[in-house]
Symmetry: C2
Subunit: 145 residues, 2 copies
DNA sequence: GCTTGACCTGAAGTCAGCTTTAGGTTCTAA
DNA sequence: TTAGAACCTAAAGCTGACTTCAGGTCAAGC
């Protein structure tokens, strides 16, 4: 059993955030002793999942839904599986988009390195839209389509 | 030259968002004709960069700074290069984190497939923390460290 | 018994990034 | 020339995820 302060330390999360999560229903079965929250292994595990779901883009109220499914037992396995499958698909999408963004950033890094070397953007702009060096052209095409 | 409505169509962005960007200083040199905004190729290009910088996690006021550097000419090449280099490093970090999140999602997908097959979580929990099937163990380790 | 630090609550405040509202102006086509 | 679509502004409103505040309770050591 942990106090809210100990859990705050473990996860580097402010105590106020943990209380907020609790108020939002993210720890549906957490116990209390004379008003004071008792975080068990169960809540600590839940918090790990919460961090993951948050990182995958889920909103608090959807995480609450998931936590409620968890405390309803095996009848909600399919719903939970669906949730993770949907999150996985959404994150794959997002990663693909971020990789495009990354190519734009790489292109722009190259662009400004050249601009600094030349003291001007003109010589680079003259190569657009399809006479850039091969590697750079790939980046440019990938993020301009 | 484009009207705000045409640009809104081109980028699938609400007109109100374009006006908001303008108010925030993201188009520092945009012209007007009797009060009406004239989007030139320059502003359209700017908007492409804005979308990229936003996707990379930059805030509006930082994008404004960048746009101002752009209209100050070659003396700011180095600052602009730095900006993109920093963004690239930050996005690499973020991608690494998201890949961990992805491993957690994959693990959870597997977990609930098994739970559904077995009708219970117990047989899986018995394999923790290091007797999972090889491929799954990798995912589990990668997101629990 | 008393102090002090960690806990508790409900309500209000904050922040970014828009969106909506209300009221007005300008352009376009019949 | 006039209707109506598309433009304009300033200001207020919204949303999600917290954070801060004011005021109170609990527990451990002296």
């Amino acid at each position: 059993m942990y106090t809210i302060g100990q859990v705050s330390e473990m996860f580097s999360l402010p105590v106020s955030t943990l209380r907020y999560y609790d108020k939002e229903g993210l720890f549906p079965d957490m116990e209390r002793k004379s008003g004071i929250r008792q975080f068990s292994e169960k809540e600590v595990d839940a918090l790990r999942v919460i961090e993951c779901l948050k990182a995958s883009g889920l909103e608090i109220r959807e995480i609450k839904q998931f936590m409620q499914w968890c405390s309803e037992g095996p009848s909600t396995f399919e719903k939970r599986r669906q949730l993770f499958a949907n999150r996985k698909a959404a994150l794959e999408e997002e990663l693909a988009q971020l990789n495009k963004t990354m190519d734009m950033l790489k292109y722009k890094c190259w662009y400004y390195e050249q601009a600094l070397k030349n003291g001007s953007e003109e010589p680079i702009l003259a190569l657009l839209p399809d006479h850039l060096p091969e590697e750079i052209q790939k980046l440019y095409d990938n993020c301009h389509k």
